[in-house]
C-alpha cells in the first residue's frame, strides 16, 4: 500500500478506525495486527470521567444499530496516565477524540493532552454526539459555535485538528465552513443519525435515553451525500465515514471527496476488517493502475 498524504502527514493506509469503535487499540491485539491499521481514533475523552448512560445502550436495526453509550470514559487525567503510555507504543497513527459540553471543557481537555507529551498526531473533536443531554450537540448544529470552538482549540495545538460533523442538520455545509474558518486542519463526516426504537413487548424505548445514534451500512448513502456536500463546501481534507463495510464503499467515499476513511460499527463484527480491506484496496489500486488511492479523490462525475 503506497501511503496517503493527509495535510502534512503520511498515512500508511487510508483506513482508520472510528472513535468509540476500537477502544484504545489494545483490546483486539490478540486478534489483529493493530499496527497495520492506518490510524486509531480513540473513544471520546472528556475533562471528567463519565460513567455513561444506564442500560440498555444498544439495539439492532436493519443494516445498522442504535447506540447511546453516553460518552462513558475514564476522563482525561486517567486517560493520560493509563491509556497514553500504551498508545505511545503503537506504530500506527493515534488521533485522540475529545468531547465536552462547553468551550472551556474542550480547551482544558486539549491542554491537558498537549502537556502529556503523547505521540498522537492530532485530535478529532466530537461536536456531534447526539446522546448527551447537557450539550456537545449544540455545537454541531451551529456554524458560529463550531467556528469559535475550532478557533479556541486551534490556539492550543499545532497538531492535526479535525472537527467531526453531525448529519442531523439542515445544512452540513454551513457547519463545515464554520470549522474551516475556525482553522480546522480537516473534517470528519459523519457521526451517527438520531434514531429511535421501541420494544413492542414491553412498550419501552429500546434505548435508555429514548434517542440513540444510528450507524452501520443503513446510513452509508446519507454519509456519502454529506461527505460530498462538505467536499464542495471546503478546501481542507476530509475523513469519510458512516456504514463502510467493504472495499467498494471505501472507493465510493474517496470518489465522493474523502482523503481518508474510518470504519466504525463493522469493527465490532470483524475486528480485523480494516486490515482486510486495506489489502483489498491495494489489489484494487494495482488492478486499476493507481499509484495511490488518493488519485481518485473527488473524481465522481455528475451525470
Amino acid at each position: 500500500m503506497s501511503s496517503v498524504k493527509f495535510g502534512k502527514l503520511d498515512f500508511a493506509s487510508p483506513i482508520l478506525v472510528a472513535s468509540g469503535t476500537y477502544g484504545y487499540g489494545h483490546e483486539t491485539k490478540s486478534m489483529v495486527d493493530v499496527n497495520g491499521i492506518g490510524g486509531i481514533i480513540t473513544k471520546s475523552v472528556t475533562l471528567h470521567p463519565r460513567e455513561g448512560n444506564p442500560p440498555p445502550r444498544i439495539a439492532e436495526t436493519s443494516s445498522g444499530m442504535l447506540n447511546s453509550i453516553g460518552l462513558a470514559n475514564v476522563g482525561v487525567n486517567e486517560y493520560c496516565k493509563s491509556k497514553l503510555p500504551y498508545l505511545n507504543e503503537l506504530n500506527t497513527k493515534v488521533i485522540i477524540n475529545i468531547a465536552g459540553t462547553a468551550v472551556d471543557d474542550y480547551v482544558e481537555t486539549l491542554k491537558i493532552l498537549e502537556s502529556a507529551g503523547g505521540n498522537h498526531v492530532g485530535y478529532e473533536v466530537n461536536i456531534s454526539c447526539p446522546n448527551v443531554k447537557e450539550g456537545g450537540m449544540s455545537f454541531g448544529v451551529s456554524a458560529k459555535m463550531t467556528e469559535s470552538l475550532t478557533s479556541e482549540l486551534r490556539k492550543c495545538t499545532s497538531k492535526l485538528l479535525i472537527m467531526k460533523l453531525s448529519p442531523n442538520v439542515t445544512s452540513i455545509e454551513d457547519i463545515a465552513v464554520g470549522a474551516e474558518n475556525g482553522g480546522a486542519d480537516a473534517l470528519s463526516a459523519i457521526n451517527t443519525l438520531v434514531g429511535m426504537g421501541i420494544d413492542i413487548k414491553t412498550r419501552k424505548m429500546k434505548i435508555n435515553t429514548t434517542f440513540g445514534g444510528l450507524s452501520g451500512p443503513a446510513i452509508k448513502p446519507i454519509a456519502l451525500a454529506n461527505v460530498h456536500k462538505v467536499f464542495r463546501a471546503v478546501k481542507i481534507p476530509i475523513i469519510g465515514l458512516g456504514g463502510i463495510s467493504c472495499v467498494e464503499d471505501i472507493i465510493e467515499f474517496i470518489l465522493a471527496g474523502a482523503d481518508l476513511v474510518q470504519i466504525g460499527t463493522l469493527n465490532y463484527r470483524e475486528p480485523g476488517i480494516s486490515i482486510r480491506l486495506a489489502e483489498e484496496l491495494d489489489l484494487y489500486c494495482r488492478d486499476n493502475n493507481l499509484t495511490s488511492i488518493s488519485d481518485l479523490k473527488g473524481l465522481a462525475e455528475y451525470r
Binding site: 483490546e27 483486539t28 486478534m31 444498544i58 439495539a59 439492532e60 462513558a72 460499527t265 465490532y268 480485523g272
Partner: protein, 267 residues
C-alpha cells in the same frame, strides 16, 4: 487471549423441543476456554446484521466445543441449518468464568437456554470429582433432556408439572439446602431473567454465595462498544476501566456476576 477462529461444523442434534446442540471443531478456542465463558458467532458469511450472536459453551473436549441453543430468530435459524463441514467464524473465549467451587457443595441451576454454561460446569465438576447438585427448570417436559433423579442430586422442574417437580427452581434449591451449612454452599445459576432474579433475591436473603451468568445484547463481545452494561448495586472500586464503576460490561466483567454485586438480572 482472544481468538478469531474459523471453526468446522461437526454435527447438530435436536436435544429437546426446538433446542439444538452443535459441535464445532475449534482447536484454539477449545484449548483455552473455561466453563462459563462464551463465544461470539457470525451465523453466516452473508450475515447482514451488525451483531454477532453470543453463545455460551456447553462442552469442551479435545479440539471440539459445543453450543446449545433455542431457535428464536434468524441467527439461530441459520445455525440450526449449518451443514456438516461448514466453516463458521467464531470469536472467543470471551468473558469471565465460573469460580469458587473448590471446597463447596456446588448447586447448579439452569433454565431455558441458560443450561449451556451450567452443563459445562457440571462436566467440569464431574471430571474433578466434586460434589454437586443440578437443578434444571423448564416450562414443560418437552424442553428437558435430562432425567429427573433426586437421589443423585439431579432435579428437573416444570411450570406445568409435566416432569419432575411442579414449580420453579427455588423448590429443589430449598430441598438441596436442607440440613446443610450454607457457608459450605455456592450456587451457580444461568437462565431467563425472571428465574435468575428469583434465585438472586433468595440467595441474598438467605446469605448464600451465588454467581449468576447474565445475558444482554452485545455488539462486540470484547469490551469495545460499551453497549452491554449491567448496573452495579454500589459503585465498584476503580479498576483498569474506572469508568465502569457504576456499570459493568457483561462481556468483559461478566457474564458472571455475584448476586449481591448487581442491581437486577433484568437488563
Amino acid at each position: 487471549m482472544i481468538f478469531n477462529e474459523l471453526a468446522i461444523v461437526e454435527s447438530t442434534e435436536e436435544i429437546a423441543s426446538n433446542t439444538f446442540q452443535t459441535f464445532l471443531k475449534s482447536p484454539k478456542i477449545a484449548a483455552s476456554i473455561k466453563p462459563g465463558q462464551f463465544i461470539n458467532i457470525l451465523p453466516s458469511e452473508y450475515w447482514d446484521k451488525m451483531m454477532r450472536r453470543p453463545m455460551s459453551v456447553a462442552s469442551q473436549k479435545d479440539e471440539v466445543i459445543s453450543i446449545i441453543y433455542k431457535v428464536v430468530g434468524e441467527g439461530t435459524e441459520l445455525m440450526q441449518n449449518w451443514s456438516l463441514g461448514d466453516s463458521v467464524d467464531l470469536i472467543g473465549p470471551l468473558g469471565n468464568f465460573w469460580d469458587g467451587y473448590a471446597d463447596k457443595l456446588s448447586i447448579l441451576i439452569g433454565g431455558g437456554v441458560g443450561i449451556a454454561p451450567i452443563l459445562n460446569l457440571h462436566n467440569h465438576l464431574d471430571e474433578l470429582g466434586e460434589e454437586k447438585v443440578l437443578i434444571m427448570g423448564a416450562r414443560n417436559s418437552s424442553e428437558h433432556f435430562i432425567d429427573h433423579n433426586p437421589e443423585n442430586g439431579v432435579y428437573m422442574t416444570t411450570d406445568d408439572g409435566s416432569l419432575g417437580i411442579h414449580g420453579n427452581v427455588l423448590e429443589p434449591l430449598k430441598i438441596a439446602l436442607e440440613n446443610i451449612d450454607i457457608q459450605n454452599v455456592k450456587v451457580f445459576a444461568c437462565g431467563p431473567p425472571a428465574m435468575m432474579e428469583a434465585v438472586r433475591q433468595y440467595s441474598i436473603s438467605e446469605g448464600i454465595e451465588c454467581d449468576l451468568a447474565l445475558e444482554t445484547l452485545m455488539a462486540c463481545g470484547f469490551g469495545i462498544c460499551q453497549g452491554c452494561t449491567v448496573e452495579f448495586e454500589k459503585k465498584q472500586k476503580t479498576t483498569e476501566h474506572s469508568y465502569r464503576n457504576r456499570f459493568g460490561l457483561v462481556c468483559m466483567d461478566g457474564p458472571i456476576f455475584e448476586s449481591k454485586e448487581i442491581k437486577s438480572c433484568h437488563l
